[in-house]
């Protein structure tokens, strides 16, 4: 019984916190891909850039971690704001292949830029002492960082849900997504809305990159390395299903953690087997409404 409770506490705490990291780095993509129907494969670049700015400022100027998170959000949001009218807007509603090609090109530009500015080695990342400390939960001793991830993830889920479901801004976004022409007709500035949404998605990416930097170290190849990871989360949940993508991320985190613990050799395939199974059954994602 003791072994079982130990195993369960491990899988739940480590699995859910890992799932939260997955959620945090992919929620921005869920926003852009779902709400704007745009295949932004360069999403990881915004995560890496925001994370890189935050982590390097922490190291060089001793910027406190929580402030660094704000900087990460702001830096990526700003970059998104600048790039959106130049690179993304011309391709809205256009051929998906064009969108894919442009954003893949953007990935390589980002990798080269990160290499040039920050060097090729992973950026040194030190957690502040209050996060590096351990918390005694009686059944288990857990790093404070993992609990922090769960708390922040839950908070973010709540804030996104409140914004989308309970504010006028959220209502306008949902309207613009459902029917852009009608939304435009009733006076919603869809162009402006898309720019703001994209900015939000990129900001969330940067925040995710900085939050997860302890587990996912930031180096120039980051945008490419984790591309498959967040595409998987977003695909299984279905584009734009932000709340659902949180559940999917948590589920994947728990399954992968338990899998790697119990059956290390098979666990590597587990995530991909799940992806294939889900997409064969529900090609638009687990939670998509039938088209």
């Amino acid at each position: 019984m003791d072994r079982l409770s130990s195993f369960l506490s491990f899988v739940l705490i480590d699995g859910i916190s890992y799932g939260m990291v997955l959620f945090l780095i992919s929620v921005g993509l869920s926003v852009t891909m779902g709400l704007m129907r745009f295949a932004n494969l360069a999403h990881g670049a915004f995560a890496a850039i925001g994370g890189a700015v935050a982590v390097s400022l922490m190291t060089s100027t001793g910027l406190p971690f929580l402030l660094a998170l704000v900087v990460a959000f702001a830096a990526s949001a700003l970059l998104g704001l600048l790039l959106e009218p130049i690179l993304y807007a011309p391709l809205y509603g256009g051929d998906e292949l064009d969108q894919v090609l442009m954003t893949i090109g953007l990935i390589f530009v980002a990798i080269a830029s990160l290499n040039l500015i920050f060097g090729s080695t992973p950026l040194p990342m030190r957690l502040p002492s209050w996060l590096a400390a351990s918390v005694d939960l009686r059944i288990r001793i857990v790093p404070a960082y993992r609990i922090f991830l769960i708390a922040v993830g839950a908070l973010l889920m709540l804030m996104l849900w409140l914004t989308l479901d309970r504010t006028e801004f959220g209502a306008r976004i949902r309207a613009a997504v459902e029917n852009p022409q009608m939304a435009q007709a009733v006076g919603i500035d869809t162009r402006h809305l898309f720019a703001v949404t994209f900015m939000l998605g990129c900001g969330l990416a940067g925040l995710g990159g900085a939050l997860g930097a302890q587990m996912l170290p930031i180096d120039p190849v980051y945008p490419l390395r984790y591309l498959a990871t967040f595409l998987i989360v977003v695909s299984i949940a279905g584009f734009g299903n932000i709340k659902e993508s949180a559940w999917v991320a948590i589920m994947l985190g728990v399954i992968e953690t338990a899998g790697r613990y119990l059956l290390p050799e098979i666990a590597a395939f587990l995530t991909y087997l799940i992806l294939i199974a889900v997409l064969l059954w529900r090609p638009n994602g687990l939670f998509s409404k039938p088209q």
């Binding site: 890992y18 090729s120 992973p122 030190r126 001793i141 993992r146 996912l216 980051y222 985190g253």
Partner: protein, 390 residues
């Protein structure tokens, strides 16, 4: 007018031909770009350092070095570079090689062209067996793994858990450590091969903790994965539970800044350390750091290239100004002093015979982390080939 033009063009053609007879060309195949670019950069830097210290001519012949980029593990590209270097650039010898698959792909080219190849780093033991033209100045994976097993046993460690990344170099050190450790009488409590796509290492660290070993022997390719693995080990407080962490290159000096304080107390087994106290090494390190301040202290890549050039120069000397198919024979048994210590080329296997050092990461007097050498195993021949003989 036309006459002199023809003469001028003829003269132009004549010049390269005559200098070609005088220049020895070395073709270096290495990752100059991509994730492992710092190895190619170290090759280049330390070759330049060698030539600045030893001159760029040997026996009246100028030694010219040409670089070709593989970008990563790309066997077909490495083979193409080798062929082009030999046929188009007319190189006399090939060198470099960080990724073993690239070296394997070049083996048949060496044999066919009868051109020597010098392995600066690529560590799979049997590369030198795939062509009689290979000479190794780097190291083999078993040269690192076996002395570590021997040292661990000597410390009284009897129960070890092995956790390596699931690819060829990981499997190689896993085999090497396990063979040596069990032969001495130790027990391997468990062996995990961690998938290359692992993001969160917590499950693997939990498995290690559950087995309650006295030490864990790890191999994770230096980079984001090794950093994540070491941080997971720290979070699970393995060191506090008395479990010694034994590795290969995860905490080598050039990685310490990225890895951070979690590297403290981690042991590793390698054929070089920046802190080696010999006068030759200390002046070597100073020279590298002052010439190339942006690229960090020398590591195994630098030493492999530096000694690789030493061997190439020896080939030219004994060949009285040329390198040919007899050059490999000429350097068998060659003994010299390297920044890493006394070294020689094994006449039977053409591998380098060298000291292997057990290091531990400690805080230096300047407060910065470094690898301190705590044990030296002298004159280690490649244990893998020794094991094949039995």
């Amino acid at each position: 007018m036309k006459h002199s033009l023809v003469l001028a063009s003829a003269a132009l053609f004549a010049i390269p031909l005559s200098t070609q007879a005088q220049t020895i060309k070395v073709g270096i195949i290495a990752p100059m770009t991509g994730g492992s670019a710092d190895w190619g950069v170290q090759f280049q830097n330390c070759i330049q350092l060698f030539q600045s210290q030893n001159g760029d001519s040997v026996s009246g012949r100028k030694v010219e070095v040409i670089y070709r980029d593989t970008g990563g593990a790309n066997p077909s590209l490495a083979k193409k570079h080798a062929e082009e270097l030999i046929v188009n650039d007319k190189v006399n010898v090939l060198g470099g090689f960080f990724f073993s698959p690239n070296a394997f792909a070049v083996s048949p080219v060496l044999t066919q062209a009868k051109i020597p190849g010098v392995l600066f780093v690529a560590a799979t033991p049997n590369i030198t067996q795939t062509s009689p033209y290979w000479v190794r100045t780097g190291y083999t994976s078993w040269q690192s793994a076996v002395p570590m097993a021997q040292w661990a046993y000597k410390q009284g460690i009897r129960r070890v858990y092995i956790a390596v990344q699931d690819f060829a170099p990981g499997h190689s050190v896993q085999e090497g450590f396990k063979t040596a450790f069990t032969r001495l009488g130790g027990t391997i409590l468990g062996e995990d091969r961690m998938a290359m796509n692992t993001t969160d290492f917590a499950p693997f660290v939990q498995r290690i903790a559950d087995a309650k070993p006295e030490a864990v022997y790890m191999f994770v390719s230096p980079g984001p994965s090794s950093i994540a693995f070491l941080k997971s080990i720290e979070a699970a407080k393995l060191k506090e539970r008395g479990i010694k962490i034994l590795g290969v290159a995860e905490t080598d000096d050039q990685e310490l800044e990225s890895v951070g304080p979690v590297a403290k107390g981690v042991y590793s087994s390698l054929h070089y350390a920046v802190s080696l106290p010999s006068e030759m090494n200390q002046s070597f390190v100073k020279a590298v750091v002052s010439r190339f301040p942006k690229d960090g202290p020398p590591h195994a890549g630098c030493v492999g290239a530096y000694d690789g050039m030493r061997v190439i120069y020896k080939m030219i000397e004994t060949g009285k100004g040329t390198i040919d198919e007899k050059s490999v024979e000429a350097v068998k048994g060659f003994t010299w002093q390297s920044p890493r210590g006394p070294v020689s080329i094994d006449p039977d296997t053409r591998d380098i015979v060298q000291n292997v050092y057990i290091r531990v990461v400690e805080e230096g007097r300047d407060g910065k982390l470094y690898n301190k050498v705590i044990e030296t195993t002298p004159a280690v021949k490649d244990p893998w080939k020794e094991a094949q003989k039995k």
